[in-house]
Symmetry: D2
Subunit: 306 residues, 4 copies
């Protein structure tokens, strides 16, 4: 399995050539640093000097005086690729060095390559596959990896490679080594779409790309396994789902998105699971879309979502 040639899937062209050309001139700049007067001005004057037109600018400061500063700027710039190196140099000189800023510059035309991890349930996976195919999610799905083979046929129908990497109860690290070989250099993001295996710290340290998980409760309520049964036992009147970045602490990573729906006494734990599935897929899809549109900045255990 480790010799499987991962071919970068060309994918169904989800946008027209015109749309693609338009996208090639759109870029995004994410910045975060300690807040000080002048950052917005410094960024916008660089862009102005390059003749770029700011399409969308979002900015957040945690406090009017002092605090942390976050900015996302989406701009239109003809021949972005050709000018990119020069632009990055300017950002380093005028933003990174003077303001101590972390930054990231991306092209809207450069789709994130995503691996989806699943186990047996299909609702989150299928929603991602459908939306990618319809052009709603601007991502390339490089592969789907599962510890079960149940969903192979569904995935392959979409023309996406499905790789079955079974869990070995005696040596879990073997599974993770195989996963890491498949992923290395091939993906920009891993999405755990109801993947029912614990991710080890070693995996997190080695994989080198962020992971987004969907937890089937309204965190921090009902951390851990069996949240729908716990919700039923507690007699709650709403259930929810939470998408978060994966960190070493289970269900404790920075929350990206949450949503909730009403339930009542007539709903069994199984019915909560069914209703919750709709919330899960909605929440996960939004989180993935926002991440892949470079809308999220992480700050400690928080996220700023522009």
């Amino acid at each position: 399995m480790t010799t499987l040639p991962i071919i970068h899937r060309p994918g169904t062209p989800s946008t027209s050539n015109a749309a693609l050309l338009k996208k090639q001139t759109i870029a995004r700049l994410l910045i975060q640093c300690p807040d000080r007067p002048g950052i917005v001005s410094a960024v916008s004057s660089i862009l102005s000097d390059f003749g770029a037109n700011i399409v969308s600018l979002d900015q957040h400061s945690t406090d009017p005086t002092g605090g942390a500063f976050f900015q996302r700027t989406e701009f239109h710039l003809e021949h972005f690729s050709a000018k990119r190196a020069e632009l990055e140099e300017q950002i380093r000189a005028k933003i990174e060095t003077p303001y101590g800023a972390q930054w990231q510059l991306t092209s809207a035309a450069q789709r994130k390559r995503v691996a989806i991890f699943v186990s047996k349930t299909d609702h989150c996976l299928l929603d991602l596959l459908w939306r990618q195919r319809r052009g709603e999610l601007h991502i390339d799905i490089a592969m789907v990896i599962s510890n079960h083979s149940d969903l192979a046929e569904d995935v392959r129908y979409f023309g996406i490679p499905f790789v079955h990497v079974p869990a070995d109860s005696k040596d879990k690290s073997a599974m993770e080594r195989t996963q890491l070989e498949l992923l290395r250099g091939n993906v920009d993001l891993i999405v755990l779409a109801r993947y029912m295996q614990i991710i080890s710290d070693d995996f997190l340290q080695e994989v080198g790309v962020p992971l987004i998980n969907i937890h089937h409760s309204f965190l921090p309520a009902f951390i851990g396994a069996g949240p729908y049964q716990k919700a039923k036992d507690r007699g709650v009147k709403m259930i929810g789902a939470t998408a978060h970045y994966v960190t070493a602490d289970l269900d404790e990573g920075p929350i990206i998105e949450q949503d909730a729906i009403r339930v009542d006494h007539t709903d069994s734990a199984q019915e909560l699971m069914r209703k919750g599935a709709d919330v899960e897929r909605r929440v996960l899809t939004r989180a993935v879309a926002w991440h892949c549109d470079d809308r999220i900045l992480r700050h400690g255990n928080h996220t700023v979502v522009f």
Copy 2:
């Protein structure tokens, strides 16, 4: 203070005489028992024999065969008061004894008498007072009791008695004894509308009427004090509120109602508090309305809300 004559407030007539007359012919029967075939039929044939017309019937069984049975029946019966004793006798003979049922028969015209406990914040209190005044809440507010005097003027503007019973940090039981004297025989329900004092087990055992509390989080998340700050610290994307019956276990009583709203990174803990206040008043008002319309059946730590 303990000699304060609690006069049953006649109240602003929130419904016309015609509406009141109509209400006097409407009654509600709540039943719960182990599920067995024939209960619905037994209830409806009693009502049919009395010439009552069923206006609304809600029924819930926890399982098609076996399990627990719950029913709320609202019916129209001319001269209900005159026929009440005879009807109760029939219910005892044909429902209580054969089915081992607990039941409760109430007249829609008989409003619940409610005491509201508050501390310093006004949003839940004002919403209750105002809805009672405009006839949305079919209750009589017998008194408002507070450990602070801040809200006295607001309460009295609505023509409701306000009693200041300060907390004595050395002897908390003194405050509760005073409260109990004020309440005894005068109220059917106590509403804790952001009352920031712990209710003792002794009080709960002696008071003899149910208490509804509003907790300013989406339970079981953020149990205890300071839930908005905790929510800010965790970086959640939604906040909520929970109305529940008060039991000896803090924030662990049967949940009646919950709701939630979206928040984002721009919201400070103080802003969460402000936004949350809107959810709190909405959730508490619903819970009080449902209780006072005899819509809630308690079953262990759960509620059935019809």
Copy 3:
């Protein structure tokens, strides 16, 4: 095409044998008639005489005295099929005749046979197909009929017959005659899942089964074509979708379900279309599920949904 043998699709067994056996003992009785005392009692005593256990009972009267009466009763009865004829006779004698009631008795095990009409967009269709496959929708999808061939492969992947019946701009009645031949005797419900052809009055009169349509606006706002563009032009802050029974008056049939989501100034008409698609599939799926679980009673241009 008219000779196509429509074989009743056995379908993926979406529920276990145990669940199916359980379903075979569950039946539903829908009743509507002028309101008079005694109907609930008459129904429940019939059921009690047969040894049936009422699992769920919903009842609505438009007025406490007089008005229209509606009731849905779900009950558990061993050997329902064997007792059905006798039960129907009792209903006729004790309910239909004395109360002038319309009624309908169905077995929960008898799934509705559904035809889905589509054009080119897939979101509503795929949600229905997928929920049927995973056992959330208790229906059999007999066929998908489209005036385009775009969605053939997707439909057949689910093992469902897809029939392409092109629209003939010169003679529209030819298309409808073909559709009617395919449908006759084979389906209990037609779902228009974003079907972009007007249904003629002749078709409605001949087809003999109800049709449910999804309209992509919050009716009665934006009746007719292009509702998302109209919504953009008006500058609304929410968009919605409406599922309704089809009648001779376009977009004027009885509303079954509606929902809405927030939008803002950044959303183009195309983005409204994308966001609205999520509401459409949610609303249509609910309407179909409720219809097929016998939860809907029609009354003039209104629906009672239990």
Copy 4:
């Protein structure tokens, strides 16, 4: 009545002195113009030159190339008042003239003076009064004007002048002349909080400040009178409310905010009215808050709400 001395109400100090001092250093700049590269840069470099720190920046372009440009910038500037004239001069020279921009510069400390027009219903009015008193709405309520006297006592309890200006069915213009005399120079905004009189074109042209109205339906559904009865007649499953700027065309002005809630067959038209009242007050309060925080830009019949 026309001689009534309108004293600028000092009001309950809803924010502490510290908060007020903080506010005095916060200003907001709204800009709209045809989109061209360099505007963001021009604005931020002016602010940077003054040593201002941008607290929040929102920007919207209707198209990446061409289209209309909108920007709201909230910034912190010590001694804003002293520097204001000079800042305005720079804006005129570097933004207004070169970009053909409309702009507005306001101090966060300068509260908008608001007149509320009401008739007999209190729900929208009271919500505004409560929130203003609690410091949630950063406005001064200069007066409440009503064509009825019903709400006088409630308004005066809050220390707000209440002026009864009866409608004269023979000469409506007399009422409006009186209103205009009361308003002239005293208010920055008029809020129609369920004011049941048509505003004449003459009034709109003379009053010189914007008007916000709450319409009790989800516009453009149910334009005109009696929307709840119309909603009941149509059998909708959700009802809503719409806050909009008032223009000469009834219910056709630019929409600021909308919201909706679920209803069902059990709700009478009166119950729709009651449930809708909660949506109305929520929607109107948000619209007023956004307007008074300078978050709204009007563009033709649309609003950009930052």
